[in-house]
Amino acid sequence: MKIELKDVSKKFQDTQALNKVNLNFEEEKIYGLLGRNGAGKSTILNIIANRQWASDGQVFIDGQSAWENSQAQKKVYLMSEKCMYPGSMKGEKALKWSAAFYPEFDLDYAKFLADAFELNLNKKVSSLSTGYSSIFKLIVALSVNTPFVFFDEPVLGLDANHRELFYQKLIEKYSEKPFTVVISTHLIEEISQIIEEIIIIDHGKIIFNESCEELLQRGYTVSGPINIVDRLVAGLNRIGSDQLGGLKTVTILGEQNFSDLPKGIEIGKLDLQKLFIKITSNKGVNNDHESNA
């Protein structure tokens, strides 16, 4: 079972939010969907979950068209900032409401989680603070038991303790009964060890779609005296460059195959967040005018 996006585009008036996106979400994997503000992350998720329609292209859930297809939509749950419940509804009733729509919803587990997060289910959904509103939606997302669960900014407003509790419950749930998880977040370092696959979207286009571990292995830095570094990295795929006095650090994306390193040169590794920043902010480093050493 998988979700397939085929040439999905979305235009808002004169903005091209998504540009021919082709993506697959495979069974029982955890994905990180990363991108800067306005890159198109939420638009992708909203189109899959029928909250927005695509201007062009198609989405298939388990082989069926996702559009206005309630059978297909029952396999998907999207947790997002938008609250899908009437504001006057109390937490407990909202959970029962979800259980009515999603046949596999585990009400006991939802109540157990509410207890763990100290969420008062007698409160109206609309009266919850930002953090607890996120927590309420997270609890629903962890209890629906659909084959695909999408989290759009899941930890918005959560304190560090609650964020950690969420990640733990997510992993616990996933490792007991795997399902497809897609997390879209700006807190990259917090999910970098949890996700298996990484998708990076930039200006409506998918620019990376691979195993997180492999991407991390391909990113590295070369630092040392300017002239030696420049000579070493000439012709390599440079995605960033910093200079401090006579010391230069260049970020490279690609295979590392230096046979013998000159004295004073050090190779370093990058964490996912730093790599992400270099990938999505520094454009055209490769085209920098450089003297021929």
């Binding site: 990640y167 616990e172 007991e176 060890q193 996700i195 370093g268």
Partner: protein, 125 residues
């Protein structure tokens, strides 16, 4: 088991090494059960596939074994096997690196030998 994720090596290797350290320091004794994949993943907040990859390394090296439906256990003879493996790595990871760093600082061979002697004395006290 202590892990240091600031270390930029792949997490599955660090998981395997963490368990190895546990075995070498008697936290996990031969014949005893080690934590499950779920416990390891939840504790360190890592993807269970990563934890499994690390564990499978140890299964391949015959350091631990899986009992279907029960859990994972330290194999008898694991300690001596690990000691042998780590001894081989000791030269590469510690001795060579030390000499390299000493070179940068212009520390001579005699000085290193003296320092090692001093290190042993400190350790005894």
């Amino acid at each position: 088991m202590k892990l240091n994720f600031d270390d930029n090596r792949p997490i599955f290797l660090q998981i395997a090494e963490g368990i190895e350290d546990g075995i070498l320091t008697d936290v996990f004794k031969e014949g005893e059960q080690i934590p499950s994949i779920t416990e390891i993943s939840v504790t360190y907040q890592i993807n269970p596939a990563t934890a499994l990859k690390g564990i499978n390394l140890l299964v391949e090296e015959e350091i631990i074994f899986k009992k279907r439906g029960v859990g994972m256990f330290v194999k008898s003879g694991a300690v001596s096997k690990l000691e042998e493996k780590r001894r081989n790595e000791f030269f590469e990871n510690y001795v060579k690196k030390m000499i390299e760093e000493a070179g940068k600082l212009k520390i001579s061979k005699q000085e290193i030998v003296a320092m090692i002697g001093r290190g042993f004395l400190d350790n005894e006290n």
